[in-house]
């Protein structure tokens, strides 16, 4: 139950003084509380745990991580050794 999953904010509305969103998890939609990510906007991805968004997913960091993985592999193929 500690797992949090990424989902995309579809729409945002207030309920009982709290920002709530409809979030899409690959087709399944759920109500998610945005209290902890007050700047999140529709279309952004958030990490959701038990109905609460706990962080906005940083697309730039994700791209960078993947680019690093790719680079490591390419370096290895080009020089025949592994950078430590």
């Amino acid at each position: 139950m500690c797992l949090a999953v990424p989902g995309r904010i579809v729409s945002i509305a207030e309920a009982d003084g709290v920002p709530m969103a409809e979030v899409d998890f690959g087709g399944v939609r759920k109500d998610v509380c945005l209290q902890y990510v007050p700047d999140a906007t529709a279309g952004e991805y958030v990490v959701v745990h038990v109905g609460f968004a706990i962080q906005v997913l940083d697309e730039e960091s994700a791209r960078q991580t993947l680019a690093n993985f790719e680079k490591m592999g390419i370096l290895e193929e080009e020089f025949g050794e592994v950078p430590r």
Binding site: A4, F52, I54, T65, V82, R84
Partner: protein
């Protein structure tokens, strides 16, 4: 967002595995703290791709597994009270108490309901003003903000028939306790990514320095885990013990300030007993004095609890990484997910349940 799928990329995974092999010259033992990572490691067989001698020790980061037996027994007693609606995350229902489990209470007529979010429990309380509604608030720092916000809302909206049975646990004191144990073999930690999404990473540098262990904040996709392991091995080989964030797409160094402010308001640090491990000082949260009226333990004066753990179960040793699940004689015999003797066989994040789901047949062939 195409990149989300790419974190399951097998070509990149293979490269990372090769990097780990190339970087490794000696045996190392590292612990993944989080049960979600344990599940992912066993499910994808990541531990079997590692160089000989690089061992993953499965840590105590399954909140269902470490919730103390006494609190489970209290939950059972409260759920059995007439007029109570007892709400819980689904995986708590099969956790064995001293006598039965929440399923047993439910089939005996108790109103036990599974909810997705604690806010659902608050909704049930507002719809049933003549009933007492209790939510079983367990979990690590990842779950605590949800429970904190729910109590905050209950107070703000004046919902007086709602209360929380709180048993929150905290990761950093558990890392310290593991390192202080004389039997400790852990040389490095993969820290739990989503715990750090909430709390940030500032609690870890003092631990890395004090115990001389690398701590690498790690995500949950196979690629994330491999990257966490790779960075850990590189540090160990170089004799370094730094805190690194290998999961920056979901973890900012400062954590989530809004969530931390709420936690500070609603909870306060307390000593907590971990099932199978024992008391760890300062390792839990309870409701702060401002919210104590929402404490189910106060509202329902449950007394006379005599805890009684199965004598066969070795989950304490499993949770401390001293044995692997299949080394317990009851594994897959007296103890299965349908009939669990210990909490580590219940939750998908429990090491015993993960081994049962993904390794049972291999293990039978081996023996």
């Amino acid at each position: 967002m195409k990149y989300l799928d790419e974190f399951g990329n097998p070509v990149l995974a293979k490269r990372l595995v090769e990097q780990i092999h190339a970087a490794t010259t000696r045996p190392w033992a590292m612990m993944e703290v989080c049960g979600g990572q344990t599940h992912s490691i066993i499910r994808h067989g990541i531990d079997q791709l590692l160089p000989d001698g690089v061992e993953m020790i499965h840590g105590p980061g399954c909140p269902v597994c470490v919730t103390p037996l006494e609190i489970i027994d209290k939950a059972l007693a409260i759920a059995a009270e007439p007029g109570v609606i007892f709400c819980s995350f689904g995986d708590m229902l099969r956790v064995p108490g001293s006598g039965q489990d929440l399923f047993g209470v439910k089939s005996a007529g108790g109103d036990v309901r599974v909810v997705y979010s604690p806010l659902d429990a608050l909704k049930i309380a507002r719809e049933n003003p003549d009933r007492q509604v209790v939510f079983f608030g367990i979990g690590f720092e990842t779950t605590a903000p949800a429970n904190a916000m729910t109590v905050y809302q209950a107070k703000r909206l004046g919902v007086t028939n709602f209360s929380l049975l709180v048993s929150h646990v905290l990761v950093p004191p558990a890392i310290a306790a593991i390192m202080e144990s004389p039997a400790c073999r852990v040389q490095a930690f993969l820290a739990a990514g989503h715990v750090c999404s909430v709390m940030g990473i500032r609690e870890y540098p003092p631990l890395a320095a004090r115990y001389g262990v690398p701590i690498v904040v790690t995500g949950f996709e196979p690629l994330d885990i491999l990257e966490g392991i790779r960075r850990t091995v590189v540090q160990l080989e170089a004799g370094r013990h730094d805190v690194e964030n290998a999961y920056p797409r979901a973890v900012r160094d400062e954590g989530n300030p809004a969530a931390m402010a709420m936690l500070q308001d609603v909870f306060e640090v307390t000593d907590r007993t971990w099932r199978g491990i024992g008391m760890i000082p300062g390792s839990g949260w309870r409701l702060s004095s401002r919210y104590r009226e929402f404490d189910a333990e106060r509202r329902f004066a449950v007394t006379g609890i005599q805890t009684n753990e199965s004598p066969l179960c070795r989950s304490g040793e499993v949770l401390q990484g001293l044995i692997k699940p299949h080394e317990c004689a009851a594994f897959g015999k007296q103890c299965t997910p349908r009939n669990p003797l210990g909490a580590t066989m219940v939750s998908a994040e429990g090491a015993c349940a993960a081994y049962y789901a993904y390794r049972r047949l291999d293990l039978v062939q081996l023996s």
